[in-house]
Symmetry: C2
Subunit: 339 residues, 2 copies
């Protein structure tokens, strides 16, 4: 197997980077201050194995109990933990298509089988997504989805989960940019697990921190699989501080949503098909123009976006919502490079 290939991470400041859905603005100053303070404290000791300081803070913010929360070294760590806990070699994992490519890699790494169920053309989930299947052990659903940025409603998610014979992991990595979320469903249906990331909406991709919410008996099972100390002391403290700064989140979200609306509108004026996004990126396809050469020309000019080509579905450009000047520059160069 080839392994999952993450988006390019050129380690230079000179390019305009709209390819991996990072937040274009710096994180909350409260987070920076917390990291500085933590550095001066004792790093010689092991961190709290369950990241309790974060669990306590998150429980307050989310209105749940701490033992419903499991922390991870980025939400990728949590997806790995859940896969290893629930899916054995040869068993089946279901994922939507087109969606986050990592899900399939996780199945391969586990020696498990995977089965893709296609979204409908309007990015709704067909009933087949909730059908039983032999040795089906886990279903992933990115919500909002990537590359589309679309959302499946909580009512529909609950309906699917209630029909499924196994847990449904709702990957809410982008949910802070959406109008709805599935957190409340976890208490209503034990098969629903919600995972979240601080990488995007908290502008902390460099910190590696995510958490999931599940019923306590599941959290207990997942805990056995995780590395004993999977989160470090600096990121635990910083993530707790980040979640506590609600004002920063609201302000950042408002800026991103405003830019997203403008980006969507401008792309549509350039004759791209852009589905309404509830994430910090948009998915643009084109009926007549080939988009791959556009992607390549922009890349040559130092503007990185993501070109995705999904077999049997089609290709398109996924553009992260950047700062206004970066988006303006992207749009200007895009227009210039259109055939």
């Amino acid at each position: 197997m080839t392994g999952y290939q993450p988006g390019e991470q050129p380690q230079t400041q000179r390019i305009i980077k709209l390819n991996t859905n990072e937040n274009p603005y710096p994180c909350s100053p409260v987070v920076v201050e917390t990291i500085r303070r933590t550095a001066a404290e004792s790093l010689r000791r092991y961190p709290d194995p369950m990241a309790e300081p974060f669990r306590r803070r998150a429980a307050e913010v989310l209105g749940i109990e701490p033992d419903w929360i499991l922390c991870g070294n980025g939400s990728d760590d949590l997806l790995t933990i859940v896969t290893r806990a629930l899916v054995g070699q040869g068993q089946l994992l279901r994922l939507p298509y087109p969606s986050y490519i990592l899900y399939k890699t996780l199945a391969e790494l586990q020696g498990a089988r995977s089965e893709e169920v296609r979204f409908a053309p309007d990015w709704s989930v067909p009933d087949a997504f909730a059908d039983g299947a032999e040795e089906l052990r886990l279903v992933f659903l990115a919500n909002p989805n990537s590359p589309s940025g679309t959302v499946v409603s909580p009512a529909r998610v609950l309906e699917l989960a209630e029909r499924l014979p196994c847990p449904l992991l709702v990957d809410e990595a982008y949910v802070d940019f959406a109008e709805m979320n599935c957190l409340d469903l976890v208490a209503r249906c034990e098969r629903i697990i919600v995972s979240r990331s601080l990488s995007k909406s908290y502008a902390l991709a460099g910190l590696r921190f995510g958490y999931l919410v599940a019923q306590p008996h599941l959290v207990e099972q997942f805990t056995k699989v995780k590395d004993s100390y999977n989160c470090d002391a600096v990121s635990i403290a910083a993530a707790a501080a980040a979640l506590g700064d609600r004002a920063w989140l609201a302000e950042n979200r408002a800026k991103i949503l405003a830019t997203r609306a403008r980006l969507t509108e401008r792309l549509r004026k350039l004759n791209f098909n852009v589905v309404d996004s509830q994430a910090n990126f948009v998915w643009a396809t084109h009926d007549s123009a080939a988009v791959r050469p556009i992607f390549e020309r922009l890349r040559h000019e130092g503007i990185y976006i993501r070109y995705m080509n999904y077999a049997g579905w089609g290709d398109g450009l996924r553009v992260s919502v950047g700062t206004d000047p970066h988006i303006d520059r992207f749009l200007e160069r895009l227009e210039n490079n259109l055939p």
Copy 2:
């Protein structure tokens, strides 16, 4: 299964903590300064997927090429990665006994079989450790070993690896406190993989950073298994700074070794059997006194050490080398609690 139980991590400063082999001294001030500086930089971006800044620095320090190095979120992350890359469900993993308990848990999590080969009474490794066996895919050797602190010589390690039909991971978590290491063997025998941790000798258990050294074709295989961004930007920068501060390491090591010698001598005077340790802890057994009640009484007094009882081998006390005042206090209370 029950999962691996790490040593207790009471989150209070008032106890004397000699139970999880943490370094008793704060990390290098260069590391603290690096963390403070990194916090002010951009955390909004994903970190380098391969932790290149650390790889470049480590390559200089160790005198090898960067592509021989793989970084992990603590060396536990690396042990998990290697196990997942090499050992399939039902295949065999070999480990020494008594040794680091996690190795067996890693096999269980992978649905693999594990086979323990006992150390000889003098903590040397028997020839059987290198025998072939059906579907044997990976062998672990903690060197220095825990709980004994003893070392298998590089010559013997090479001899074992050359007879084995599969890779041998030499876990050098404690090697900076030893007189020898197996790093040079990696180039001589492709089956030898060396893993290291910054938790102990660099006083950075709270940071979660480790690395392994293996031939590049193995590093490439392991890279496919790891999470895309398994090390965060703060720990990558901090770990590179730590490895670069050779003077701090030498000074810290000298202090720990001096205290270890004194601790060993005093324990022997109290009629404990203490094997010469090359790690930052010592293993003390007793011919006549029951050690478990001693452990419990000390714990009640706020002095935490580790009680280990290995079925078919015997029990003992593993005591981390602390500061001189902490070790003095431990020895005083130990003497007082002897039957």
